[in-house]
């Protein structure tokens, strides 16, 4: 079927439109949203299988041929990310049923939720740089609504900052695309890559370096890398847990994906920009770790861990050899799963205790052993303890770092694992051990039901780690496409 790769975008879009009609019927909304979410997961799985057997898939939307019309491209990297997104979306949806509240549900929560998935899947799939901007905006518009839905003071305040930051970065994106268009005269990503290759035989022209740095700023703002993560702790603090899990797991990863895609496809001639990327990635790790250790607020600790993870992935990308790219792809998927799980677990903790301040929480494991041990496993996976999923990715990234003779960076990635472990163990030791306390909200929290969603994610993540041997062929296919732009270009332009 020609249109297979658009299905993970089309299904949520269609569902979103239908859900607007059902806004007063909560049960119907839940049923429709669940069914469509399962369909997306299946569709994404089929895409992976198709890419596995037939190589990179491309779809020329509206039957316009490749460099002229908009093209959707699904290589293994984007197919894997779309699949992970669909899983995370499905699980967060399950969590939302029990926690988000009827006010949200009546106010188009599920519709906007689906539009967010449209944006994320679209950004992963598109093969056109301007279309990437459009999908970014779809995703951002939905994220604004999800962030502000509920309308508490902190949400309004943080939404304004978040919106302003993103409006400016969108304008920068348009400017960067305009510059790129004036240099290469095309918007199709494969075509851009081949044109840049033509003009970069004697080194990349200066203007392209400028454009590369502009893209780094734009996507870095979305992906929260070192100097540009300032907005994140505040904005991500405001929304309720399932929304936070979606944001933490997906939105920053879209930025990371875009950096990876543009850098490996367009700017691989210029190792200096990769050097810059590497420095920023290492600084992100350092500052993220400092934040994660310093805070005594469980939400903030996990939020700062996003920055660490982004740094680790981008460090792997910046080394640009087979081992490190494989590790980066592996770690990216691991991080999407485990961050969603951790944020949902934090949501459960908050729904029990009514606070996110670690100093007011203790002894949870006495009455909630399931919660405690799930959190423990998730924490170990985050830090990268074998055989859980974080280990393989980090190992490959560090190994790639040594191969690429970037010893300091590899060492910092190693050290960061230790400190990340410390930051999450701090939550475990202080929050779960110690004296048992009673909390006000405790009676109302349906802990067992809330726990289903994070447990699913933790199990998937554990399987992902244990079964890494059988998953590795998929990951290395993704890495091969990233390292050899010709595969991508030939599949799209069909030369």
């Amino acid at each position: 079927m020609t249109n297979l790769i658009i299905l993970p975008i089309l299904i949520p879009l269609f569902t979103g439109a239908i859900l607007i009609f059902l806004n007063k019927r909560i049960i119907a909304q839940r049923v429709v949203a669940t069914i469509s979410s399962i369909c997306s997961v299946i569709a994404a799985w089929l895409v992976i299988q198709k890419v596995r057997t037939e190589g990179v898939q491309s779809l020329n939307v509206s039957s316009w041929d490749a460099p002229f019309g908009i093209t959707l491209v699904s290589d293994m990297f984007s197919a894997l990310l779309v699949f992970t997104t669909s899983i995370v979306a499905f699980v967060c949806l399950l969590y939302s049923f029990k926690s988000i509240g009827q006010e949200h549900e009546k106010y188009y929560y599920y519709a906007v939720y689906n539009f967010l998935i449209v944006g994320v899947n679209g950004a992963f799939t598109t093969g056109d740089i301007f279309n990437l901007f459009v999908f970014f905006e779809v995703m951002l518009m939905s994220s604004y609504v999800l962030l502000v839905l509920g309308g508490t003071k902190i949400q309004l305040r943080e939404s304004i900052k978040y919106l302003l930051v993103n409006v400016i970065s969108s304008a920068l994106f348009v400017i960067a695309v305009a510059y790129l268009y004036s240099v290469v005269g095309t918007l199709n990503m494969a075509h851009i890559s081949s044109r840049i290759h033509e003009i970069s035989i004697n080194g990349m022209p200066g203007i392209l370096t400028v454009i590369a740095v502009m893209f780094l700023i734009v996507f870095g703002l979305k992906g929260a890398i070192f100097p540009l993560y300032f907005w994140m702790p505040g904005s991500y603090y405001a929304p309720p847990a399932p929304v936070l899990a979606l944001f933490g797991a997906l939105l920053t990863k879209v930025g990371v994906y875009s950096i990876t895609r543009t850098y490996t496809l367009f700017f691989y001639h210029d190792m200096e920009t990769f050097g810059l990327l590497s420095i920023l990635a290492i600084l992100s790790i350092i500052f993220g770790v400092i934040g994660a250790i310093a805070y005594w607020d469980i939400k903030n600790i996990i939020i700062y861990n996003i920055i660490v993870a982004v740094g680790v992935i981008l460090y792997g990308v910046s080394i640009l050899n087979t081992t490190s790219i494989t590790g980066a792809v592996y770690y990216l998927i691991h991080d999407m799963l485990i961050k969603a799980a951790l944020f949902l677990l934090v949501g459960v903790v908050i729904s029990i205790t009514g606070t996110s301040n670690l100093k007011n929480i203790s002894g949870l494991i006495n009455r909630y052993p399931g919660l405690g041990w799930t959190f423990f496993i998730a924490a170990l996976a985050l830090a990268g303890i074998p055989p859980l999923s974080g280990f393989v990715g980090k190992l490959l990234i560090v190994q790639g770092g040594f191969e690429g003779e970037s010893l300091i960076g590899a060492f910092i990635v190693l050290m960061s694992s230790l400190l990340v472990l410390f930051s999450v163990m701090k939550i475990f030791i202080n929050g779960f051990w110690g004296k048992d306390r009673t909390y006000r909200e405790e009676e109302e929290a349906p802990v067992k039901r809330l726990l289903i969603a994070p447990v699913i994610l933790v199990v998937i993540s554990a399987l992902y780690g244990i079964g890494s041997e059988s998953i590795l062929p998929y990951i290395s296919q993704a890495a091969d496409t990233l390292l050899d732009p010709d595969i991508y270009i030939n599949a799209v332009l069909k030369e």
């Binding site: 502000v148 309308g151 309004l156 409006v167 305009a178």
Partner: protein
């Protein structure tokens, strides 16, 4: 002509930056509007300011204008229209809820709530 456009775009960006650095929320919104105008003009200029026939398939004109920048601008305008409208509604709600349109007073740590 490109030089003139470059100046216009520069002035737009300059004004936008100035407005966005001010404290009043409404000025900031106007600033973002100007910023996106500047970006749209930049696309137009970057595509090359040529004169020619409308880019319709099968015509016999000697030169065509590049249709792509126009399509991009239209898309970007629609998006910035949507975002600006949302921003205005958000600012209005925030003004009602927080009782201020001064961004300085919207600062706050998480502990306030």
């Amino acid at each position: 002509m490109e030089i003139v456009m470059a100046f216009v775009i520069g002035i737009l960006f300059m004004t936008a930056t100035y407005l966005m650095l001010s404290k009043s929320l409404l000025r900031i919104i106007v600033g973002t509007g100007l910023l996106s105008h500047g970006a749209h003009l930049l696309i137009l200029t970057m595509g090359g300011l040529k004169r020619g026939a409308a880019p319709i398939l099968g015509g016999n004109a000697e030169s065509y204008t590049d249709p792509l920048p126009q399509a991009l601008i239209l898309t970007a305008i629609v998006i910035s229209f949507g975002v600006t409208a949302f921003f205005l509604v958000l600012a209005y709600r925030a003004y009602q809820e927080l009782g201020t349109d001064n961004v300085e007073e919207m600062r706050g740590t998480q502990k306030d709530d």
